[in-house]
């Protein structure tokens, strides 16, 4: 029994990092551009399809495919920023609608190119790791490791580099940052591009584990937003923690209660947090 619980917990943690990477994109975008980019799920799908395409259809080595997928996704993010998000800074509702429209555009584009047939990447890293009572596919561990590394790198980049601290400053006090010479437009575009790159990475890694279909991103963006809010929008490590908390809440809930309602447990948890601690688990206190 304990095995089961711990096993589920660890699974929850691993999937939580996937939620976390999207949550990170959400929280960065909100902190710097003032909107929630719901299309991040669709960008995740782009990254997933591209990495599948490069690996299975073009025969490239998987790591190269991932990099290429990220680059292309980021380029799409840049295009989206310049044509759309640039006009919806700090306007939540407009940003919401625009990103929703973008989801339709991206998903239908993916459908046009690759049709509705689910895509399955061949096993890039077959085999499992056996920790006695906890068995996990090697690929999952790799995904976990890569995502953790990227999130941690983002965190230290934000806190240690000039660009990162400029971003923090801007999130706290936009006008002051502008007066101090922070190139705000560059910063905002940069954040949008970076968050789509993160989503692309998440998708590219997702492709090695699961079957792909065009709407794969929709539940992830929802979970990503949940996780970001859970942790408190604006907190980078919080995004990771929020994702993990959500993943664990879902996993644990599924042990004792019907698994079909998996998503509900996370939602209930989210609502409770929002009611009693609206700034999130790690946000500035009330």
């Amino acid at each position: 029994m304990l095995q089961l619980v711990v096993g589920q917990l660890l699974n929850g943690v691993i999937i939580g990092t996937l939620y976390g990477i999207i949550a990170l994109g959400v929280t960065l975008t909100f902190g710097i551009t003032g909107i929630v980019n719901f299309a991040l799920g669709a960008f995740m799908a782009i990254g997933a399809y591209l990495s599948w395409f490069f690996t299975d259809m073009m025969g490239m080595a998987y790591p190269i495919s991932i990099l290429l997928a990220i680059l292309v996704t980021a380029a799409c993010g840049f295009a989206a920023d310049q044509t759309l998000f640039r006009f919806t800074r700090n306007n939540l509702i407009n940003g919401l609608i625009v990103s929703i429209g973008l989801i339709s555009v991206i998903q239908s584009a993916l459908l046009l190119v690759w049709t509705t047939t689910p895509k399955n990447m061949h096993y890039v890293l077959p085999g499992i790791l056996n920790f006695g009572w906890f068995i996990v596919p090697k690929m999952k561990m790799v995904v976990f490791g890569v995502l953790m590394a990227v999130i941690l790198m983002t965190y230290s980049a934000l806190t240690r580099t000039w660009a990162g601290r400029a971003a923090y400053a801007f999130a706290q006090a936009p006008e002051a940052a502008m007066l101090m010479g922070v190139r705000t437009r560059l910063l905002q575009t940069g954040v949008v591009v970076y968050s789509t790159a993160l989503a692309g990475l998440g998708g590219a890694l997702y492709a090695s584990l699961y079957s792909l279909e065009v709407s794969m991103g929709s539940s992830y963006i929802l979970k990503g937003v949940e996780a970001a809010i859970l942790a408190g929008i604006g907190s980078v490590m919080g995004a990771l923690a929020g994702g993990i908390v959500l993943g664990v809440a879902e996993a644990v809930g599924s042990i004792f209660l019907p698994a079909a309602y998996r998503d509900v447990y996370g939602l209930v948890f989210l609502v409770l947090i929002l009611l009693f601690r609206p700034s999130g688990l790690f946000g500035p206190g009330r």
């Binding site: 759309l84 939540l92 929703i100 429209g101 973008l102 555009v105 949940e226 079909a260 609502v271 929002l274």
Partner: protein
């Protein structure tokens, strides 16, 4: 002038015989009810509720369940559905407004509740038949003076039924909006701190607008389901909630008729654009994007702004295009 336009609508089925056009109009009227009721909460009281699709779907399901398990007529079933939805809305609304959730957080929490309800509907197979949905074979019946109780079938009958229902809803909402309660809603939307200071119980009126709006959605749900003949969990999906928001934004949230125009456009669009399904979805997305960037007030709002004198524009209590 406006009355004339409404009267003309009654004449349409006599002049137009194209089934497709009439069908589009029926869906427009029913979805128009959905959008107008949503706008009461969103456009007039300023709360972005993502719970509307849930109210819509639950209204449909409960009507069917009442008719099947309790043997009541469609109308009683619809009433029971509305009451049931009101019960849920009371709980959800009380929680949200008691905790004073703002804008974005309100949207997220209502979305969370909506998803919870959808998941219950999706998984409670014994009652709702899960993802397979329910095929509706019974029909609503109405009493006609010379013919007695007859079933509502055929596009023409549905046309008149839905038109009357829409008008009833528009009249009700207009009355509310033009009354002291409408002033409370506007006050809450524009500056709830000031409204509070002036003695308006913000919590109470937020809840009232939420309840009235959701009741409208439930009724629309019942009508939609029985017209379409099929209910499935997709009624409660996020896509449906977003479509409602899209209708209101497209048409304009500052008037009663804006949401109806938005419903018309989004309903008619797939028929006008005769491309593949994917391309249609893409164009839908592009229209959404273009509208919000170029015409944030929606079609009706933008037209009104172009016509009105600068000083008088934008006041809710004096809107001339509210019917």
């Amino acid at each position: 002038m406006k009355r004339l336009a409404w009267l003309l609508l009654f004449a349409v089925p006599l002049l137009v015989h194209d089934e497709v056009v009439l069908t589009i109009l029926v869906f427009t009227y029913i979805l128009g009810m959905l959008a107008v009721s949503f706008n009461l909460i969103f456009g007039y009281t300023g709360q972005l509720s993502m719970f509307h699709a849930a109210a819509f779907g639950v209204g449909a399901y409960v009507t069917e369940l009442a008719m099947t398990h309790l043997g009541v007529s469609f109308w009683v079933g619809m009433l029971l559905a509305a009451l049931f939805v009101e019960g849920i809305s009371l709980v959800v609304g009380s929680i949200c407004f008691r905790f004073k959730l703002r804008e974005f957080y309100f949207a997220v929490v209502t979305l969370a509740f909506s998803e919870m309800v959808r998941l219950v509907v999706l998984n409670w197979n014994s009652v709702t038949n899960g993802s397979l949905g329910i095929n509706l074979t019974t029909k609503p019946t109405i009493w006609i003076p010379t013919q007695g109780l007859i079933p509502v079938e055929g596009t023409r009958m549905w046309y008149y039924l839905s038109l009357v229902a829409l008008m009833a809803m528009v009249v009700t909402c207009t009355r509310i909006v033009h009354s002291w309660m409408g002033r409370c809603f506007a006050a809450i939307r524009l500056n709830d701190g000031l409204a509070n200071a002036l003695g308006i119980d913000v919590f109470r009126y937020q809840l009232v607008s939420f309840l009235v709006g959701n009741a409208g959605a439930a009724i629309a749900g019942a009508l939609y389901a029985y017209y379409l003949g099929y209910i499935e969990p997709g009624y409660l999906s996020i896509d449906q909630s977003l479509a409602i928001v899209a209708m209101v934004l497209l048409g304009g949230r500052a008037s009663m008729i804006g949401p109806i125009i938005g419903a018309l456009i989004l309903t008619a669009l797939p028929h006008i654009i005769n491309f593949s399904a994917e391309l249609r979805v893409m164009i839908y997305g592009l229209i959404l994007i273009l509208t919000i960037l170029v015409m944030p007030k929606g079609i009706v709002g933008t037209l009104a702004a172009l016509r009105a004198a600068p000083a008088a524009a934008g006041s809710y209590a004096k809107r001339s295009d509210v019917l």
